[in-house]
């Protein structure tokens, strides 16, 4: 398989992106589309809404690349754009309230994955993800950024435009809620294994 531009010439990749190189931008989309969709879906957007917001995010990134200083990681920068776009979308549609509520109804909406994809995941990952989907969206976002994306508290605070202490609270509460939610199903799993 041919190596991608960003793998071959990491330093040059940003320059190529800034110069408007189409191949480099295609690779940029390929590399980060999963991240952007994850951000949108984590904030409770439906699949069709996530597609719209992901498009807006990549447009904004395309326009904003020339002002990207390179101080923050490219992924952190893109996460912050995706987060802003998704929250703006919710605000426009008068659904911002759902960021801090327990999304019982949304869980049902979010189970739109096909059987192929479900088969690819281990059962444990599915159980954990189902539990994350039951968290208030801001807690879920903090948990995903910290545990999945390995982002620091400072980076998460930048992405979510929140104070570090607020992020710590989201993480603490999210983690505790997950422990409660996961205690039963994972213990059942352990019993079955025995």
């Amino acid at each position: 398989m041919a190596k991608k531009i960003w793998q071959q010439q990491k330093g040059n990749f940003l320059q190529l992106l800034r110069s408007g190189d189409e191949r480099a931008f295609a690779e940029f989309i390929d590399k980060y589309k999963q991240t952007v969709f994850l951000c949108c879906r984590s904030l409770g957007l439906r699949q069709d809404e996530a597609e719209d917001v992901a498009s807006e995010t990549f447009f904004a990134a395309y326009k904003g690349l020339r002002w990207y200083s390179g101080q923050a990681q490219l992924s952190t920068w893109l996460w912050s754009i995706a987060y802003r776009q998704a929250v703006n979308y919710l605000r426009k549609n008068r659904r911002k309230w759902q960021l801090l509520t327990e999304p019982n109804e949304q869980v049902a909406q979010n189970q739109e994955r096909g059987p192929m994809l479900a088969a690819q995941h281990s059962e444990e990952a599915e159980i954990v993800w189902a539990a994350v989907e039951r968290l208030p969206r801001l807690w879920a976002m903090a948990v995903i950024l910290h545990y999945r994306e390995d982002k620091s508290i400072a980076d998460i605070a930048k992405i979510m435009k929140a104070r570090k202490n607020t992020v710590k609270t989201y993480l603490f509460r999210g983690r505790e809620r997950l422990r409660q939610l996961l205690a039963a199903p994972l213990e059942e799993d352990v019993d079955v294994d025995r």
Partner: protein, 141 residues
């Protein structure tokens, strides 16, 4: 290390691993669709810029014409003297040019070979410059 801390670390590790295994469904043609949309937007931008330039040029013509009309109405004496001096100058120069034509023809007929070569070289130079700067824009494929 306490058992509580150990359990917490194991929970964190399990959480991180499980979340990293999760992936969201992304439409297969998303990248191509994005690139196509970006191209369309760029084309629209270029079109909008050209339209704006044309509108500005047209507006400049109207404004300049308006200024001339207003100036001629408000300061008729100044406008008349300016036009008169321009007309006189142009007429004098045209007359002097017409006077020079027989002399030029006489000089040209004496050294027509030299002027023919000079004309050909100048023509080729102009053609090369036009080709160099706007050749790819006027080529029809």
């Amino acid at each position: 290390m306490s058992t509580d801390k150990l359990a917490q670390d194991r929970f964190d590790e399990m959480l991180a691993q499980a979340l990293k295994r999760h992936s969201e469904p992304v439409p297969g043609d998303f990248t191509n669709r994005m690139l196509r949309q970006i191209r369309e937007i760029q084309e629209q931008k270029i079109l909008a810029r050209v339209t704006l330039q044309q509108r500005l040029a047209l507006a400049a013509c109207f404004v300049f014409g308006g200024i001339v009309i207003v100036a001629a109405t408000v300061f008729p004496d100044i406008a008349a003297s300016v036009i008169r001096s321009v007309t006189v100058n142009v007429t004098e120069r045209a007359e002097s040019l017409i006077d020079r034509i027989p002399q030029t023809i006489k000089a040209f007929s004496g050294e027509w070979q030299f002027y023919t070569i000079l004309g050909a070289v100048s023509g080729f130079a102009i053609y090369s410059l036009v080709e160099l700067f706007i050749g790819d824009r006027v080529t029809i494929t």
